[in-house]
Symmetry: C2
Subunit: 207 residues, 2 copies
């Protein structure tokens, strides 16, 4: 598969197109122009048309791209069709907000387990997902083919959970805490950083 | 000021360095090497040293950069020293998680107001921030010099709040909902998209 692997840039742009397509579909739209995708992603329309025509997708003049068909195609190209299981750590306000939203579900991620250490929470449900005790982590990862760990926990315990996830074989971690996580080089950590994006926007606004 | 404006790339990298520096400081460190900054940002160490030496900052061999001094300097360069006021919309689970965390505070953003339309919540506090009624939006933005609106609200109402923020003069919006927001070209919208980052990571993991 290495030969037809996408470049970093193409994969990043396709992911961003996919987000806009998914959002547009939820808002009831059935087609979208390259101009509209451009407005929401900042990628110029010519680049968008080139990326998509490279995969055999052409928008109709005056109509645009069929959203359903394009979502299917982009997910196939990104090889992320199907469902991927997530384990969510922390059933506090943030964890509950994540579990109650469709932010991951819309993109084929399923929260299959929520872990907490608070005995009062363990055994209760967030929506239709039961909260399990943290001690079940390794077993759950193995039995449910969990690909991603999402950390909605305090910074002080984030490294410990990351270590346990790595030991259980998870290769992708999404970190909502502000801990700096040390992981082996074959593990990818994404850290949520809204303030950094704001600083960046602010700089261009102020200068 | 236009002449000494940073390029997009430099400003983006400095913002990322700043995040790592702030996190490291919180974890009790006082110095950091370019190699360590590289591990957490993915920017190569040579580029990091070049960026920082361009602003007169040089790490000491075997010790690295003084974190406090570098944070001050980067914030000065980014012209984001001082405090910038945020208005947060939505006092649900997500809004409360944001208000209770230091994710914005660590970078000089202060949540000066939380707005909701739920009469049962208006007048109560989240930490030390009172929840106000949405109808006070325009007045608060003007009287408190609010620079940024953060949307922790359902997608169905996000465009309306964005419109009201734009009308009140706010130029930067951070959108946690999955609505696609239409704003004038002088307004910047950042949309939180953890699932998109995960898809991207997953692609490289699976292929």
């Amino acid at each position: 598969m290495a030969a037809d692997r996408l470049t970093l840039g193409v994969a990043a742009r396709l992911s961003r197109y996919l987000q806009v397509l998914t959002q547009s579909k939820k808002m009831g739209k059935s087609s979208i122009s390259s101009q509209a995708i451009s407005e929401y992603t900042g990628v110029n329309p010519t680049q968008i048309r080139r990326d998509l025509s490279g995969f055999g997708k052409f928008g109709k003049r005056g109509v645009g791209y069929d959203i359903d068909a394009l979502i299917d195609e982009v997910r196939k190209i990104l090889r992320t069709s199907g469902t991927h299981n997530i384990a969510l750590f922390g059933a506090g306000n943030l964890g509950q907000a994540i579990a109650g939203s469709s932010v991951f579900g819309d993109h084929g991620f399923r929260i299959s387990a929520i872990f907490d250490v608070d005995e009062a929470k363990v055994g209760t449900m967030v929506g239709d997902i039961p909260i399990r005790h943290y001690s079940e982590l390794a077993e759950s990862v193995a039995s449910e083919d969990i690909m991603v760990g999402v950390l909605a926990i305090p910074a002080e315990v984030a490294q410990r959970v990351a270590d346990d996830l790595v030991a259980a074989g998870v290769k992708i971690i999404f970190n909502y805490s502000d801990a700096l996580l040390s992981v082996p080089s074959d593990v990818t950590v994404h850290t949520s950083s809204p303030a950094v994006e704001l600083l960046y926007a602010l700089y261009f606004y102020l200068s």
